[in-house]
Assembly symmetry: C3
Homo-oligomer: 461 residues x 3
């Protein structure tokens, strides 16, 4: 909707002349890109540059002057130079006094300097009003006009009016300013563009490791074992059959791992008799990536669902079906319906689908816009009640799928349990311990501790 | 992304000393949890307490003083005591004059008092600047650092600067402040954490009742009737077959109920000849829960889709297929393709899938972030045009599924119509009446009324 | 959650008397609807009208006065009259001096006047503080209380305090104000409600055209050819078989078209040796609708997935299966498993499902709330890396589906390639050229150009 706004404004000549001149210090790539965009949006732009000779890369409609002359022409000065060169600005302190300086710099790694670039700039020039902003926007995107990523520009600064002026420019460029508060937030804003899914790293590596283990385990039992002992070459199982054993195993294990840290936390609190001591570090970190673990589990569950639904379309499946039916026909017999089997098949399918359905609901409520529109009580209700419901349904799905195979020695090739049996370990542990924790006597004790009403005196100092 | 912000700040010693002291009145659970979090985020905290002896539950780095001394040390005072005890604050009126008081209290039930706690506080201490906030945050979440629910903190207050100070503290703690306006909004903010999906209650109870009815109806016709008259024990139908008749019936009925109130509203307006009289209360309430009804209908439609797709995997289904084929083979015959049946089967499947597809589109556009990015005209277009398209497709799906069974007496076990026939009543009514309403002569009249241009004079006073 | 807020406030008599009188100029439909809503929310309302006689359509609790008298009673005046009649307000300039005027007008078409209505009003009455707002809200929705569309009210204005007053009223009505900056944004806000998915128009028309072409092409080859040369009437293929060839062809072609403009852009930059010249207009426009093209491709891919999964349920499919099996049984033979075919079938299914899975992930990250929570680097990673991964998987899916049919003359009915072969043209072109572009020597050159470090001097002026 808003995509054309900046173009629109540039086209309306009667509005553009109201816009105030903006000065840009530095003619590097980002400085030029920002200048282009501003001129397009109707802002007169003046560049402050060391060499007064006009570079042919600078937008044609922009003026280029020395730093001091350029700064005098505008109330807002964009500092598009690198932190190492901020020192020379102190010479201009008089000219820059009272001006709004916009620090748009980025560092090369997280927490590179003790203080943020914007705070450093504010210390160098205490008479100027420093505002942090624009560092999260890509020069390439500004230049090409294809800002299809987030249009949000994070702004922070100590002076409210200066911040307001910069936010108006941001709006003038067709972007959305987001006020992040005082200049204290600059470090956070500077670290922001350097991150690549920081909270996802551990869950993804964990999933990769677990996935590889399950894959080779399943390959050994389903393909290699069959090849050695039954002399069947089922190498094509690698495409669908093996993944479709790995995916549900991953989904169930990871889903169990989402609820395991909560169980640990409860046990630790019960043991310590207080909630006022920090959890061990590993538990804190684990708790912080539960959402990511849950979403990865959901991804695997979805893959399992699709891989299962597609199975009637496989050449192997239609070959197997026709072989069974032809042999029945040749033997002149019709098998009666096995009611036990019909019950087992229908119930594990139904449980799996219901579990998946509740799991998808959980996933939808974890979308930022949905979780922002529920309150804490509602969020707890969904994540705790619905989450455990999904876990119970999915675990029951696998248990009934296994049925009496758990007791059948033939199911244990090379004396090893099947993949789905392994995947039950974590969720079954979670469910059993959780069942103990919600027994009235234990639950009452735990609730007291969590309300801070009661504690074990031997732990207080 | 932001999760580490508060930790980061605590680690940067050069920034923490800029933070101003915050005073907390009350050493209860939430007061302590908030104090912990503030100290972690680099705020000096001083507690105001009745007994000056230092409790061992209070964060170690916090100071504990009497109320008056504590209040003098800070500009912002968090009132972490219960409304019943607000009276004693009047004695401190002088000390609290000009200070920012943050009311974080919650009530036990909705609209417990005539005025909100924050407004009550403001009345008691007219010289102080009262800001409402933090009441939607959980103490347990603050304490454990696992704020995985909404990070939004709703703030309201009459004094803009006081509000700004509190919002800065909220940002300093790594949370997101949301300005809800003047202190008038306090009642809304106080009621917020007490609600558990208020708009969902009626739709969920309605669905439960309707679902139970359909379930037992279907159970009687499909399982009990078959058992009595055909002597077949199909009890395992309870797992998949019966639910997969209940789900689509629920989906279609509820989807019809989404559009029924709009039909009623149009009829009422046509009858009254004016839009300037309120609808009856039940209709207003019904209209307000259309979105929820629609989403529940979508949930049932999704379940129906998955339960249908899974059917080739059922043991019952493969038994039935092989029985049919074996009997053909034994009779030495190949049945020719029944073209009518092929047409019927393909069209009801295609209609169902297209209807479901449009229905899912509708569901996606009702996500808060999507519906916020469309304007009123676009929203009307989607909800009205696409909604009716989905309803027409789904109704046609069921009508063609039924085919000539509607006229076949054998379809009426115990003289009762099948579940899917019942589910057609509401949507067919809606579609027929809607068809009448969009006839040019009726539509023109209705449009006039809705534009407020014309009315029936006999109704004006 | 917020739905009851306005009602709640109206019910709380102690709060309503704090609300300040609002004046509304004009007693048209929107003026009356807004007045009703304000009275419900506890605001005293006074109408300014030409005729002092009280119309029976105006809310009962509202006062009706002449314009001047009404204006004197309130600080905020809603101008609910049309732009053509703004002239008469100049006569009231003295009374309106210092007042907050809220321009709620809309035009009939985009950019109807050189300046926005709000700016025109500000020019007419320079002594008043003009705020734009409420124009995106529907009168009918206000009246009926069923504001189920976006509750956002876009506000802009040059005077911060005036804007704040209007935003407070918006909140008082239970709506969400969104500050869009200074009055310059009025044109954008006024154009907003006139748009009907402007960015979707081209992608939808393109899809329609392409879809029709594929449909008739496929109809000719699958239904008409079969009818003429094999004398089989497969007209029922129109319902599922033909669409299920059109959908994947559409999905793959459109998905290729998403990445084609990026390829063109890279080639143009390589050829020009600079990034500082604008792309041709058609390329700019194409790049701006990539997201829409991608989402439409995803919609077709989803339809393809569902139409494929449903195929075992078709009457045609079960007829074909039983015919094959019966003929095997009658010939007394069991076919051995064709390993090549099993490999082919399993791999194209697996590739298709994985490609679809990655594609759905891409779709989820393009939801506004999700894409707002990732930074630029993360967004680039998802859209570029994951996007190409999905494209590769989907293209491989079709290539393996085709298998050795590409070389088989029997596959070319009427010497024409099959639909899926046509759909490969665009994505294969994209992948081949992209492969050339990421060759180290080419990529290095391109990266330099995009960082602005290097350019071909013959193009600078």
């Amino acid at each position: 909707m808003n995509k054309n706004s900046s173009n629109m404004m540039a086209l309306a000549p009667n509005t553009s002349n109201k816009r105030e001149t903006v000065c840009i210090f530095g003619t590097g790539d980002f400085g030029r890109a920002l200048g282009h965009k501003m001129i397009q949006s109707g802002y007169p732009v003046v560049y402050g540059s060391r060499s007064s000779q006009i570079s042919n890369l600078i937008p044609k409609d922009a003026e280029v002057l020395g730093h001091a002359e350029a700064a005098q022409k505008a109330a807002v000065i964009i500092i598009a130079i690198q932190r190492q060169h901020y020192n020379f600005l102190t010479k201009l302190a008089d000219v820059l006094h009272g001006k709004v300086l916009v620090d748009i710099s980025n560092n090369l790694k997280l927490n590179q300097y003790p203080e943020s670039n914007a705070e450093y700039l504010a210390q160098l020039l205490p008479g100027s009003k420093v505002v942090k902003g624009f560092n999260t926007v890509s020069a390439w995107a500004l230049q090409s006009g294809t800002l299809d990523a987030s249009r949000q520009v994070f702004i922070c600064g100590d002076d409210v009016e200066a911040k307001q002026m910069v936010m108006n420019i941001v709006r003038g460029l067709g972007l959305t300013p987001v006020d992040k508060g005082s200049l204290l937030a600059a470090q956070e804003i500077e670290n922001y563009p350097l991150q690549l899914f920081p909270t996802w790293k551990f869950p993804i590596f964990l999933s990769l490791g677990l996935g590889l283990f399950y894959f080779f385990y399943c390959l050994a039992l389903d393909v290699i074992y069959t090849y050695i002992y039954e002399n069947n070459n089922f190498s094509f199982f690698i495409a669908i059959t093996v993944p479709n054993q790995v995916f549900p195993a991953m989904a169930l294990t990871l889903f169990g791992l989402v609820y395991l840290p909560g169980i640990f936390a409860a046990i630790i609190q019960l043991y310590r008799g207080t909630k006022y001591r920090r959890f061990p570090d590993w538990l804190d970190k684990w708790m912080l990536c539960r959402k990511q673990l849950g979403l990865i589990a959901l991804a695997f569950a979805s893959l399992h669902a699709v891989f299962t639904l597609v199975s009637p379309l496989r050449a192997f499946s239609s070959w197997r079906t026709s072989r069974q039916i032809v042999s029945q026909a040749l033997n002149n017999q019709t098998q009666p319906l096995d009611h036990t089997n019909a019950w087992r098949s229908d119930s594990y399918l139904a449980l799996g689908m219901l579990g998946f359905f509740v799991f998808v609901l959980l996933g939808i409520t974890s979308l930022p816009s949905v979780s922002n529109s529920v309150n804490w009580r509602e969020f707890r209700f969904i994540q705790s009640k619905l989450g455990y419901l999904a876990l119970i349904l999915c675990t029951a799905h696998v248990l009934i799928y296994g049925g009496d195979w758990f007791l059948n020695p033939a199911a244990y090739k090379w004396y090893l349990p099947d993949t789905y049996m392994l995947s039950l370990i974590v969720p079954c542990t979670v469910l059993v311990v959780k069942f103990v924790l919600i027994l009235p006597c234990v639950d009452k004790h735990l609730t007291k501790i969590r309300q801070g009403w009661e504690r074990n005196p031997r732990y207080s100092e």
